[in-house]
């Protein structure tokens, strides 16, 4: 080899630095809609460079002194399997199912960080220095909690039977969680005192894996976005810990960057729902723990509206605001809603969409779904922007949205109190397309439905919209 460490090492380190810079620039560009896509590409470019430089470094200067063919076979096979599945799933996933896929990617990222820490620990023959020891334990703990926690979150979003989206109360849940935390802390202290024990590390691993499950199960599906974002921040931290274990600056920088930005993002998401992160993590929202307010059921005061009446109201309105919610997303009705909107616009009706910050499954998810259906971006209005316009709008068409329209949020004493809502009740007429009088995630009745201005159209979002479209066409 003509290349020696004195030349290769600094070059590889500089390329790593370039990768880290690309991540920072990429993240900052992703904070604005106009530059977001470019930001993601810059970040991907930095990633490719950093991984390429690492491969070059490991070939030219093998850390063990000689080329390791089995190691390289494993790297290539791993990249083919993981990368291939990643490419396939990311390309084919339906946009409605995208949040659970992101959670899965987060799970494996945390899993990889934990595996690295486990492998490094097994290579020691005696206790590593305190700093290494702390980083290894933290890498294993955070990585494993993220791994199982994100898998459960993903399962909840998919609505698997073993992981229902409603909060699952584990018998003696708090006690179990506390006991697991105690096992982790006590075992970690034992190792930090200079003891080397694979069995104790195994106990930490097992307790952390179970902790991820017991932490996530009691949290309701509506809060999953915040949980996934928090776990995303955890994974960043676990990767930084793996960086400490391997003494690698790039892992430390990228991990810390994601850990910090993920934490800020988690807080932004929680703020949009007017919840505290702590409150969410303690679970219990949407059932259990007596949070269900004793609001009188709307009962007989609910008025049903016929398909033809609804079509007439919409077609002869001068302005309509569509309020899409999760029900629209699950029914995959985003294309139908666009068709209806175009039909109405053809008749001279002004149509806008009111997007609540947490509409859909994740903040911003509804924008993605509607954009997928080719709804022009300028028609999508955020809550603060659209709320004053409800006073002037003739018809508010609520499709599968519930808690985010509940006027009860303006008063104290309800589980949704203080949550910012769309002022749908200010519209002259309200049409609600909904499958039943079922409750939303907050588990309370929506006073909007009892409003005399409200007409209920009981139908699945997709079927209801299709009928509405033909009714408007028939006018």
């Amino acid at each position: 080899m003509t290349l020696d460490a004195a030349i290769v090492d600094p070059i590889v380190r500089l390329i790593w630095l370039g990768g880290a810079v690309a991540f920072v620039i990429g993240l900052s560009r992703m904070s604005s809609p106009a530059t977001a896509r470019q930001g993601n590409l810059i970040s991907a470019g930095g990633m490719t460079l950093a991984i390429g430089a690492t491969a070059f470094w490991l070939v030219v200067l093998p850390p063990t002194g000689s080329f390791n063919p089995i190691g390289w076979a494993i790297i290539l096979a791993g990249i083919a399997v993981g990368g291939g599945y990643g490419l396939y799933s990311a390309r084919t996933v339906k946009m409605t199912a995208m949040p659970q896929l992101v959670s899965l990617f987060n799970a494996v990222g945390g899993g990889a960080a934990a595996l690295i820490a486990i492998d490094e620990y097994l290579r020691h023959t005696g206790a590593p220095g305190l700093q290494d020891n702390v980083a290894t334990v933290l890498g294993i703990v955070i990585g494993s909690v993220t791994f199982t926690g994100s898998l459960i979150a993903s399962g909840k979003l998919m609505g698997l039977r073993i992981t229902p989206s409603r909060p699952v109360m584990i018998p003696g849940g708090r006690l179990v969680t506390a006991a697991l935390a105690f096992v982790v802390v006590a075992s970690a202290l034992y190792l930090f005192l200079g003891n080397y024990s694979v069995a104790v590390m195994g106990a930490i691993l097992a307790a952390s894996l179970v902790f991820g499950v017991t932490m996530t199960l009691p949290i309701g599906g509506a809060d999953m976005p915040v949980v996934i974002s928090l776990l995303n921040s955890f994974t960043g931290t676990a990767v930084a810990m793996a960086g400490f274990v391997l003494n690698n600056p790039l892992l430390i920088i990228a991990g810390a960057l994601v850990g910090a930005s993920g934490a800020i993002l988690t807080k932004l998401m929680a703020d949009a729902m007017n919840r505290s992160v702590m409150n969410i993590m303690l679970g219990g929202f949407g059932g259990g723990e007596g949070t269900v307010g004793a609001v009188a059921g709307p009962g007989g005061s609910v008025r049903e509206v016929s398909m033809d009446d609804a079509a007439i109201q919409l077609a002869y309105a001068s302005s309509v605001i569509v309020v899409p919610g999760y029900g629209l997303a699950v029914a995959q009705a985003q294309h139908n809603v666009r068709e209806l909107a175009e039909l109405l616009e053809g008749r001279g009706v002004d149509v806008k969409y009111a997007i609540h910050p947490v509409a859909g499954r994740m903040p911003g998810h509804m924008n993605v779904l509607l954009a997928e259906a080719n709804v022009p971006y300028p028609q999508l209005r955020e809550m603060e922007d659209i709320n004053p316009e409800f006073d002037r709008c003739d018809v508010a068409l609520v499709i599968g949205a519930n808690d985010v329209t509940n006027p009860a949020a303006r008063r104290p004493g309800s589980p949704v109190s203080g949550m910012p809502i769309l002022d749908v009740d200010h519209a002259k007429n309200i049409i609600v397309i909904k499958r039943s009088m079922g409750r939303g995630y907050a588990g309370i009745d929506n006073e909007l439905y009892a409003n005399p201005k409200t007409g209920m159209l009981f139908a699945d979002a997709k079927a209801g919209l299709a009928e509405l479209i033909s009714a408007v066409k028939a006018l």
């Binding site: 791993g78 993981g82 490419l87 690295i116 097994l122 960086g243 400490f244 930005s261 997007i355 955020e382």
Partner: protein, 110 residues
């Protein structure tokens, strides 16, 4: 790399992460989370390092899983984020140009 240097880098990178994400429109929360999610796929670098230094079957198994997991994180993360962001592309012929401009200003776009 000494531990105090590593810790210095760690703390500065945290501050950098906090500074970069100050105000983000809710629209971009999901893509941004997904984008940050892809960045921690950098753990692939670590997985590659443990794979080439492995010397026993268990270590090979662990590093294979780590490489596969990390690659799934990287490739899937970037591709799905790009798919989300692709949808924010403006339609070529925006029907009401003046309205689009107004919305742009509200969003803080140029």
């Amino acid at each position: 790399m000494s531990i105090d240097l590593a810790f210095t880098i760690f703390v500065l990178a945290i501050l950098c992460g906090v500074a970069v994400i100050s105000k983000v429109p809710a629209t971009l929360h999901t893509p941004l989370m997904s984008g940050a999610n892809s960045i921690h796929g950098i753990v692939l670098v670590g997985a590659m390092i443990i794979a080439v230094t492995a010397d026993n079957p268990l270590s090979y198994l662990l590093s294979f899983l780590a490489v596969a997991f990390a690659s799934l994180n990287v490739v899937g993360g970037y591709v799905v984020t790009d798919r989300m962001l692709q949808m924010f592309r403006r339609k070529p012929a925006a029907p009401k140009a003046d309205k689009a401009d107004k919305a742009d200003k509200a969003e803080g776009r140029p």
